[in-house]
Amino acid sequence: MSAKIEVSFQLNGKQRELQVLPSANLRDVLRGEGMFSVKFGSASGETGAAAVLFDGKLASSDVILAAQADGHSITTVESLNTERELHPIQAAFAAVGALQSGYSAGAMVLGTMALLEQTSDPSESEIRDMLGGILDRETAYVKPVEAVKRAAAVLRGETVTGFEPMILTPLTDGKNAAIYDAKNKPPPGSGAVPRLIPSRDVPEMAVVGKPEVKVDAVRLAKGNPAFTDDIEPRAMLYCRLLTSPHAHANIVDIDDTAALALEGVHAVLHHKNVARIKYASGGQSWPNPHPHDQVSFDTKVRHVGDRVAAVAADTIEIAEEAVRLIKVEYEVLPAVFDEREAMLPGAPKIHDEVDTEEIFDADKNIVHEIKAQRGDVEKALASAPHVFEQTFRVHQVQQCPIEPHISIAWIDEDERMVIRTATQVPFHARRMVAPLLEMDIKDIRIIKPRIGGGFGAKQEMLLEDIVGHLAKATRRPCRLELTREEEFASSRTRHPQTITYRTGVDDDGKLVAQDMYVIGNTGPYGTHGYTVQTVSGMRGLSQYNCPNKRFHCDVVYTNIPVPGAYRGYGAPQAEFALEAHLEDIAIELGYDVIEFKRKNWVTAGSVIDIAPHLGERAVVDGELDEYPIVMTEGIEECVAQAMREIGWHRRDDAAWREPADRPHIRRGLGFAFCMHGTAIPFLDMGGCSIKLNDDGSFNMLVGATDLGTGADTVLGQIAAEVLGVRLEDIKVYSSDTDMTPFDTGAYASSTTYISGTAAMRAAEVARTRIKERAAMLLDVEQPCTIELRDRRAYAPDGSSVSMEDIALDSLHTQEQEQIMGTASYVSPDCPPPFAAQLVEVEVDIETGQVTVPKMVMAVDCGVAINPITASGQVEGGMLQALGYAHCEEFAYDDAGKMLNTSFGPYKIYRADEMPETVVYLVQTMEDSGPFGAKAVAEIPKDGVAPALRNAILNATGAAINDLPFTPERVWAALNDK
């Protein structure tokens, strides 16, 4: 270790002299000084999460040597936090909903500061250029750009109004298709503003449906220490993983002598010293689906990046050095990466161990065989006048949360294990980690702080067992954070699939049979393998009416980095294939594409018949007397609004399609119809408890996991509506397994619907008691006649008492009691949200380069509890979906090593590349949901890939059935058209 050197610089206006390691980068030094707004995104400066102002200019502190700051001035967001109030720039970010996870909020606020220093009225492209180096996976930069404009206006002294949705009149009667009128232009206005089409069935409400500012906006805008890594227990050790360099190998021997001998190393764990206990890492309800094919450290590695050993040491540098000193002898085995090849005779057997049960056919690497059928598909196909067959291939991508996986574990004063961790599933993680650590569930506490994005990657018990083992071994707090490279190769990804559809159509254009065969690539472990492919079957066979349907899926093992849950689960894969397949059928049969889909898509009253036969709670045929039906849908309104917004008639405008001044450009528009689920019926459960405080405010405890999604805000709004108070009167605390009620977690688009209903019911329980106490105080006979609004309880005669007085009375004066309500909810229903996704494309027919100028999604998500956060979900979902469709892709060498483990070569969309997006929220009143809500989080992942594919087809005549649409793939398709 080298001696420390002194650097002296201005930090947020104060002169500082610091002793730093010569090799330390500026980010680490600033975090050490309590500047928690400066985040880790990667070691290579590409995420921008660590941006600071260096002499007033935006710079990435992770690629600046701390010593180079000597004599310079460094500014972080903390410089703005001199008062409780937010600085106008921070306030603008909060006001327009620009903070989702808020992980990169500090960087964005600083960039805005520097930009507004240069120009008081920056152009859109100047703003996007500034944000271009700050990656964000959640907002699609839509609201951040709006925030910068707003901040500029405020600082110029202009008055700004509240950020509210644009209310539009419907184009349909809510049922029938609208007649498209090219002369009817869409309303002008910033795309950042959600368009809201209200339903007459929705009553007027005080808090629900309102653009409330997120409850966590202040702490995020200030960059306050809210994330896992922002708290460091004393004497904490830093951990690192040793991962496999081979795609498939037996570990013949591990020698940790040299590593252990290194000074500062406290533990080296591997298969020789950690008990072999089988599990499945997917964060799912008990009992976790089989097979349980993982152990904390195995004697075999099954992908490049698989765990081999873990080290805990005094510093990261020592831990890294120790990792290099571990000697591992491998017996390298042949590997297989393609799901089609893995099933062939002679393919290497990936799970040859004897202690994994319930692999369907281990010799063929088939983990699961999934089958479901309605009617008789073969018979219907045999007699159908038109039969079409197509095969699609969808690829592997990663969730790319800007905050990588991170967990910190320590043993507390009661000998209990506390794990502070970036997880979407704290309660599942507690239950699943307990047996691995050979501890009781009651002796484990999982704390989920703010999370810098998850998108499914954190619906796993991924690092919790490792830090737990290390904390047990060292009896010191242990912190493990994945590097960006590990986040790609050693966490979770999206399942690649090969999807074949056979579809029979009658002479009226009605579907008579749909046969879907999927080979799902679950990589080396089965985590989420069964359920993801099941969702592919559900989503691939639910949105069109058809009397005969069949789903058959082989889920196979391969040696690619592990697929798991990724927002949308199996739906984006299936909907890409389905919407492409039906597009081609429509064209082949001479129908207008939307007309053809409309003939077949489900509407209110349609039966959803395949879903009950798939999944963890599947029923066998005949066991069900009643199938779920679609209760609410705003499909035609979505389609009509989206068509108008994109200008659908341009599809027929030759001058637009082939611009005379740009002869190598072809333009086109594409459509995809989308349907998703809302939570898993009979399985997803959420709990909530709420209690009244002296001042008439409430503490609300929820198990639900806010990942930046706005869950805390939405649940708070629901409770506030029930209790007749303001959102700010509800203090939400979420997901700490010691404190809050149970919740299955943040996945399957369940939070608003399931946890929201729990919140509503808990608030209702409290409300009943509040009314009773109010009736007592107001001398009213019947408590049910009392009304709660504006933080008061009103009697029918107009007399009233404040919430505060009710609270003081009940806590201190007479018949004292704590007014509280607790409730939980599990739903028998799964009301589907629907959407129309439209994409505009420009294809360079000489290079194959694809540019998307605009995307429109009109979504029926019931009642959007908060239209701002709901539109943010849709925007962010579309960004991820566009990356999936267009440019994100794992690249490997022949030995299965991922080559593009950073955001240079692995391309995710940046602010300066994003198309214009416009979001329409079409209200419907879903009676089963809290205040009419359905889900919104995942449906924006479903339609972009097929709509883009169909747009490219419309523009060029090239039908491309493999993702993503890289220039070369498009060019090749244009050539063999």
Partner: protein, 283 residues
């Protein structure tokens, strides 16, 4: 590890002479990535941040002299942009605003990556690199500086001081292709520099060969077929543009890799070169 912060070129050269194994740090946007990943574990670092003379530029007669540590943002936003529009275009495509605020042309050249964005432009400009050491100054052409993937002729104790190239006298173009509108690493890039005064054409390619590549035959062909007039340049026969494109593509011998096949790269180069010449001769 030790860190030195010299404040003059002479002091820097002495430090490098005493300790040739030291790593030079300009903006740090390449070197720090390697240090963070421990691909490079230098025992000593010499930071150029305080060497102000390296961060200056001048235009003298027909020549631009660009100090090695002038950051991209300066090239884009100063008079340099007019004096070398091709270099300004290339600078605008680098990384992101943070990277352009700190990254330098000297660092881009010394790294010598095939994907370095300024390299094809400087190669097309016939730029000269001024290299200093305690032994004195030597001058090397950009095409001779980089000899392989991330390999240069720089001696361990040598410092790039400045880059010299002629002030633009005619159109300059810089084009890239890749999956997105903007991108960090391109499948291929192409720089075209037309010198109206000398009636010459220069074309260089990036990302397709270990070292920067000039396309001599195509350049001569274009120069011979351009209609050089005093009020601008024209190409009368559109087939000339096509032929130029394929001649440039023929000069490259791209490889297959995970980003692209050789066939596509070759095709892309032909399209880019043709477009560059089309733009240059129609504006």
């Amino acid at each position: 590890m030790t860190v030195s912060m010299p404040s003059s070129v002479d002091e820097t050269l002495r430090l490098l002479s005493d300790d040739p194994a030291a790593t030079i740090l300009a903006g740090g946007t390449d070197a720090m990535v390697e240090i963070n990943y421990e691909h490079r574990r230098p025992a000593s670092v010499v930071s150029l941040r305080r060497v102000n003379e390296l961060a200056t530029w001048s235009i003298d007669g027909g020549t631009v002299r660009l100090g090695a540590t002038v950051p991209y943002v300066e090239i884009m936003n100063s008079e340099l942009a007019a004096a070398s529009p091709g270099l300004a275009q290339a600078s605008r495509t680098v990384g992101s605003s943070q990277i352009r605020n700190t990254g330098t042309v000297g660092g881009n050249l010394a790294t010598g990556s095939p994907a370095g964005d300024t390299i094809p432009v400087l190669a097309a400009l016939d730029a000269i690199v001024e290299i200093a050491s305690v032994r004195g100054i030597r001058e090397v052409a950009v095409v001779d500086l980089i000899v392989g993937v991330k390999r240069t002729v720089l001696e361990p104790d040598e410092l790039i001081v400045a880059i010299r190239f002629p002030v633009a006298s005619g159109p300059q173009e810089f084009l890239k292709i890749g999956p997105r509108n903007a991108m960090v690493i391109s499948v291929a890039s192409c720089a075209l520099v037309i010198n109206q005064a000398e009636r010459s054409v220069a074309c260089a390619l990036g990302s397709v060969s270990p070292a920067p590549l000039r396309c001599g035959d195509a350049e001569e062909f274009a120069a011979a077929n351009i209609d050089w007039t005093s009020d601008g340049i024209r190409i009368t026969d559109p087939r000339t543009l096509e032929t130029f494109g394929s001649m440039v593509a023929d000069a490259a011998s791209p490889i297959d890799d995970h980003r692209s096949t050789a066939a596509y790269r070759k095709h892309g180069i032909a399209v880019m070169a043709r477009r560059a010449l089309t733009r240059a001769t129609t504006s």
